[in-house]
Amino acid sequence: MEEVERSGPSVEEALEVALEELGASEQEVVVEIVQEPRSGVLGIGAQDAVVRVRLKARGEELSEDELEEQAEIACEFLEGLLERMDIAASVEPGLEDGSMYVDLLGEGDEQADDDMALLIGRHGQTLDALQELTRVVVGRRTEGRCRVIVDVEDYRKRRRRRLEGRARDLAKRVQRSGREEALEPLTAFERKIVHDAVSGVSGVTTESRGEEPERYVVIRPSG
């Protein structure tokens, strides 16, 4: 998924939805306004804003050196943060399937288990916050978008695998039944995982519905 077209009551809102589907920030995309919103008279002739949003330079993947540079910045930032949270954990970078993971690992005692659960947070909220801050810090100090994925004791990797499997199973069910199915509310990062996993299944398509934090993905027959 490199380009999406989305509508909304305003250009800003349409853009917000499109960016989320792409899992990108505003600096990482080219935005084309297909249609300006019109309020109409008494609602007659009103139309939504439509934007087409394309990921910039997707073909230009980061080199391993650049990934390592990003990981180094991320590690340093996260180590400083853990220290100030009074949490003892090691921060370990690792390249896996072309993605740079930075994993926070506890020391295995009881306190560490509590701390790691705290860093993940409810539905991964704290982990998402760490990801967002890391993204900004890395983005400020390097060219190009931040490719570093922050994880706590493989939480994301485990959850990702489970979610991918579940999304594909559901997609196959939709393929057979012709009826749409919805997943529970997910974070933007997790919704992106579902969109990507289902994009490989023919005859079905995905879309996000609802408002944060209750936004969820629907899988439905395409066409």
Partner: protein, 77 residues
Amino acid sequence: MKELLEYLARELVDHPDAVEVTEVQDDRGLLLRLKVDPEDMGKVIGRGGRTARAIRTVVKAAAVRAGVHAAVEIVED
């Protein structure tokens, strides 16, 4: 808590020297007031308030760890 918030803010802004955090104790707990250079407001808030939300979430987690209640307020210089 103060030190953590100062650290986060300084990592995000262009004018780290202008970052200032004051602690106010009120009846609901600790209130951390973050002041940054006006030019850096957008950086600590982020698109749609994403960065500010992330800062609050991390500070809240640290507060849980420390057994206190803490809230973050971002004010303009």
